[in-house]
């Protein structure tokens, strides 16, 4: 029996370890990331497996030249989570990301599994804006332009194109229709007049694609531009009438997970209206996942915007003020801005957390009530007993933020931000320690010499009260702290104290739980300053950050505090923007207020070189990173040496991507990385991770494309090896005059982590603006005897 227990324990341990080490997930099916181009927004779309109880998905993101991740709440919609990252964050040559998936039980899982202990974040290559983008110019129609069909003409200029380009081989597509045969090639200009070929152009939204080839017949570049074709009457009407676009989507799906079957039903409505410069948008998302005992899953949003200077949003808004204070957190209420240029104001008010009542676990009388942190006094008249052990609930939390600023921001802007957040102690019966927070901040940006010099600064201080249930400190309590002559043993004057309390209590509850307790040590200050210089093909950035250990803002849940240090980086463009060399160095340390046992220093050196050739040769990125962490505890300190940190992580990465034609066009991506973790502490937990992957996407014809991918992963930790091999096969096929679109992906894995999975979707256009999408996902893990699936149907109606 003892032996059986031991084997079982070893098996469980092994399986648990396997789960941690695998760079795969039981929560995330796949992550789609739009093409990452420097300065352009990047959209993350996460497909989730049928796992119940997911309450939040957070994107952790870090540019290559920084070491601290920034965190963004993703929008949960059905079985997917989406977030569009601002182009300001997207820099060459790479970015790292991972996902943090939070469950209602409080459990947090990462994707890939096991970050940061046993796995590393994923890396995505960021392409520099291609010089080719400026070589091929769509002169007309302009992007987003509305044109009358009688006056419509397409004009593409190749005047700036490289001499390698074969202009005569250029292909023009309007949607999926090849209109090259109707185009007129006039020197370096391509012209198409709709008037001459009325059958070639229909009314509606159009997407123009210009495929450019070099003189060897190989793809050189592709440019896309969207516009709308209307009748002359429609165009005239469009300028004076409401234009309504939108979609209605209804979904019903069944998820089966570990023999637990659940139905989910969602309905979403998106409406966009424009009238001249006025934009009215509305979004409603209603789901059966909305429950009173969890944070809201339904979403409602209305938006009114006039030109670029006036905006008001209602419902679930995601306001962004200076990042240290309010960074895209969901606020259910009102947000808006008025931008007059010389003076602007942004404001938001609403609920960031709704109240969820706690639950009674066990009731006690006065005699048998144990002393425990979750045993509280309850209303005996209502519940029968005076005490109970409870699961604490969540207080309703309201937030208000205001940011007046001066200057349009093109050259200069100086802003001031005030944020106040407060829990409502009366919102629930069973709660613990309602809190209150005030943050004051200022930020400035300055752009000089046509933005070649950019200065950004922000600084904020916070006040936090960790328990406002007892309200403000009373005059009697103050009296008790002071002797009869008004002095106290801690050297304060009573009248001065009362005056300060009266002033402060108009902003925040003042009692013994207010902090910081050591403001003179700047413990609640968070500040950063960044200077960027763009000269001589160099982009040099230097920044300094300081984040005190007690800094906290209710509008920013994810900031890493207790850090200070510098970051210096340089990106050099060479050989006519074909080669990019990046080097960055960051040095940080914690324990700013001497609240930790020892101070840990973090040094990061990142270097990379990227080659984006304009010839038939693979694009290459090579990168080397070295991260060291070291604190001042010596191995000989027998009392504290278990807290010793002294390690080096070295990462070598190579990525290659290559487009070639072998019968048809293929796009290949290959990457290999080696991560070595050398632990010099007494734990001596050296680890090595090696990952290699190859993906080939093939475009067989306009209807069929396929992908084949391989990933090999192996790790060594001490004397334990772990490895698996992941195969990914996918195909997409359009048929029935494009009415039916089929997608199939099969993802088995072999080795120490075994899993079979496939994902099938079929989209059928029932009418021009009504489509049905059937989705079937299935995966099983034979070793864990687990089989899970999801089957759903979605109807989408476009207005």
């Amino acid at each position: 029996m003892k032996q059986y227990k031991l084997i079982t324990a070893v098996l469980i341990l092994f399986l648990a370890l396997s789960e941690l080490q695998a760079q795969v997930s039981n929560t995330v099916s796949n992550v789609k990331i739009s093409q990452a181009i420097e300065g352009k927004p990047v959209k993350f779309s996460v497909s989730l497996y049928p796992v119940p109880g997911i309450s939040e998905v957070v994107l952790a993101y870090k540019p290559y030249d920084e070491s601290i991740f920034e965190y963004f709440d993703m929008e949960l919609l059905g079985d997917s989570a989406i977030y569009t990252l601002s182009g300001d964050y997207v820099r060459t040559p790479l970015f790292s990301y991972y996902l943090s998936i939070e469950f209602e039980t409080g459990v947090v899982e990462t994707y890939p599994l096991g970050i940061p202990e046993t796995a590393v974040p994923l890396e995505v290559t960021v392409r520099a804006p291609s010089v080719k983008d400026s070589e091929i110019i769509v002169l007309s129609p302009a992007p987003g332009e509305k044109v009358a069909i009688n006056d419509m003409f397409i004009s593409v200029s190749m005047i700036k194109a490289s001499e390698d380009v074969d202009i005569g081989a250029t292909k023009l597509y309007l949607g999926d229709v090849d209109i090259t045969q109707y185009a007129l090639f006039a020197g370096d200009l391509i012209l198409f007049y709709a008037e001459n070929f009325p059958d070639a152009v229909s009314l509606g939204d159009k997407s123009l694609k210009v495929e450019v080839f070099n003189k060897n017949g190989e793809p050189y570049h592709t440019v896309n531009s969207d516009f709308t074709v209307l009748t002359s009457t429609e165009l005239a009407e469009a300028q004076k009438q409401f234009i309504t676009n939108g979609s209605i989507e209804a979904e019903s799906r069944n998820q089966s997970y570990n023999d637990q079957s659940t139905w989910f039903n969602n309905l979403s409505v998106n409406l966009k209206n424009t009238y001249d410069d006025l934009r009215l948008n509305a979004k409603v998302y209603v789901t059966s996942e909305e429950k009173a005992d969890r944070q809201p899953r339904n979403r409602f949003r209305g938006e009114v915007q006039y030109q670029d200077w006036l905006s008001a949003e209602f419902g679930d808004t995601y306001p962004k003020l200076p990042t240290y204070i309010l960074n895209g957190k969901r606020v259910r209420g009102v947000s808006g801005f008025i931008n007059l240029g010389f003076f602007n104001i942004e404001a938001t008010y609403g609920q960031v957390r709704r109240s969820i009542e706690g639950t009674i676990i066990e009731k006690y009388n006065r005699l048998n009530a144990p002393l425990a942190s979750n045993v509280i006094a309850i209303d005996s008249a209502r519940y029968g007993d005076p005490f109970a052990a409870v699961n604490f609930g969540t207080y309703d939390r309201q937030l208000f933020a205001l940011r007046p600023s001066f200057g349009a921001g093109e050259i200069f802007q100086w802003g001031f931000t005030y944020l106040h957040g407060k829990d409502d102690p009366n919102s629930i019966d069973f709660g613990s320690r309602p809190r209150e927070n005030v943050v004051l901040g200022t930020d400035m940006k300055l752009n000089l010499d046509e933005r070649r010099i950019q200065l950004r600064t922000q600084a904020s201080v916070s006040l936090i009260n960790d328990d406002i249930s007892s309200g403000d400190i009373t005059d009697e309590q103050i009296d008790s702290l002071f002797s009869g002559d008004g002095s106290s043993s801690f050297g304060s004057d009573k009248d001065q104290f009362v005056t300060l309390k009266d002033i402060a209590s108009t902003f925040i509850t003042v009692n013994q739980y207010i902090g910081p307790l050591n403001p003179e040590e700047l413990s609640s200050l968070a500040a950063e300053a960044e200077l960027q210089l763009n000269y001589f093909n160099n982009r040099i950035r230097g920044s300094y950050i300081y984040r005190g250990n007690q800094y906290e803002s209710f509008g920013q849940d994810f900031m890493v505090t207790d850090r200070k240090g510098i970051n210096i980086s340089d990106r050099i463009r060479m050989i006519d923007n074909q080669v990019f060399f990046t080097v960055s160095y960051e040095s940080l340390e914690d324990n700013l207020q001497n609240t930790l046992l020892s101070t840990t220093k973090y040094d990061n050196l990142n270097t990379s070189v990227s080659y984006f050739p304009r010839i038939d040769f693979p694009a290459i990125t090579l990168s080397y990173k070295n991260r060291t962490r070291q604190n001042d505890i010596a191995p000989t300190d027998t009392v504290n040496n278990i807290f010793m940190i002294d390690d080096v992580t070295s990462t070598i990465l190579a990525k290659l991507s290559y487009d070639f034609i072998a019968g048809v066009k293929h796009n290949t991506n290959f990457s290999i990385s080696n991560i070595g973790f050398e632990d010099e502490s007494i734990s001596d937990l050296d680890q090595t991770f090696v990952t290699a992957s190859l993906n080939v996407s093939s475009f067989w014809n306009r209807d069929l494309n396929s992908t084949v991918g391989f990933t090999s992963y192996s790790s060594t930790a001490g004397d334990q090896d772990y490895s698996y091999f992941l195969l990914s096969l996918g195909a997409s096929y359009r048929l029935l005059d494009d009415k039916l679109n089929l997608n199939l992906n099969i993802n088995p894995s072999f080795g120490d982590f075994k899993r079979n999975g496939f994902d099938f979707t079929a989209q059928y256009a029932l009418m021009q603006n009504l489509s049905a999408i059937f989705q079937l996902r299935y995966y099983s893990m034979p070793d864990l005897n687990t089989t899970n699936s999801v089957a759903g149907l979605r109807l989408r109606y476009t207005l």
Partner: protein
């Protein structure tokens, strides 16, 4: 007679050679500009033609092409290297010249008469963007403004314009955003801060859409046309 023949053949030879050379210069038949938008009466003619033709949307304008706008008319002209656009106001006549070398194009717009608004992107070091009137030359590096050929005046909304008078004292100067310049009869260049009227003219030049208001009266329908400001 022999001499006449020799002169004739020599002239013919030179003529053919020149034509051949000129043909080589015009081998690149890339239009310099396009007519992007037309309001009412806009005509054009190529350099080697004498008759005006009604322009249509997308009309390509070759080197030396001429554009003419009539009463209450307007043409929006787009340069094919993506360098900018012209708003040719009513009763204007201009010639557009472009010389392409490798991946650059030097542009010169000769304003015979009338008013032209312009939006010009930043030019690369090896490119020129010039406006010429009978009295001055304006070199543009990336700016917005108006050239008023009738009043020998330049309004600069933003950016920088290098100016040179072509008559009299042939003064030169640099015009910056918010200022105006006028060439006097004796070739002096007067630079001054834009007046309110000139600022209004600058804005009016941007209006490219004509809208109509119909007013029903006892005597019939009165139509009022006005320009709508560009978005």
């Amino acid at each position: 007679m022999k001499i006449i023949k020799q002169v004739f053949f020599f002239t013919l030879f030179i003529g053919i050679a020149l034509a051949f050379t000129a043909g080589n210069f015009h081998d690149d038949q890339t239009p310099v500009a396009l007519v992007k938008k037309i309001v009412k009466d806009v005509q054009y003619k190529s350099a080697d033609e004498t008759d005006w033709e009604a322009a249509k949307m997308g009309e390509p304008l070759m080197d030396g092409g001429e554009v003419k706008t009539g009463f209450q008319s307007l043409a929006l002209v787009l340069f094919t290297d993506g360098s900018g656009l012209l708003r040719v106001r009513e009763n204007s006549i201009l010639n557009i010249y472009g010389e392409k070398s490798k991946r650059a194009m030097n542009k010169n717009t000769f304003i015979q008469e009338g008013v032209v608004g312009f939006e010009v992107n930043k030019q690369s070091e090896d490119e020129e963007f010039k406006f010429t009137t009978p009295t001055m030359v304006a070199s543009i590096r990336g700016t917005e403004g108006v050239i008023d050929g009738d009043q020998n005046k330049v309004l600069c909304e933003s950016g920088l314009i290098e100016l040179a008078a072509l008559i009299g004292q042939k003064e030169t100067g640099v015009l910056t955003g918010g200022n105006a310049a006028q060439v006097t009869e004796d070739g002096q260049l007067k630079i001054y801060e834009m007046t309110d009227a000139e600022k209004q003219q600058l804005q009016q030049t941007k209006q490219i859409t004509i809208k109509k208001i119909r007013v029903e009266t006892e005597d019939g329908t009165l139509e009022v046309e006005y320009y709508e400001e560009e978005e």
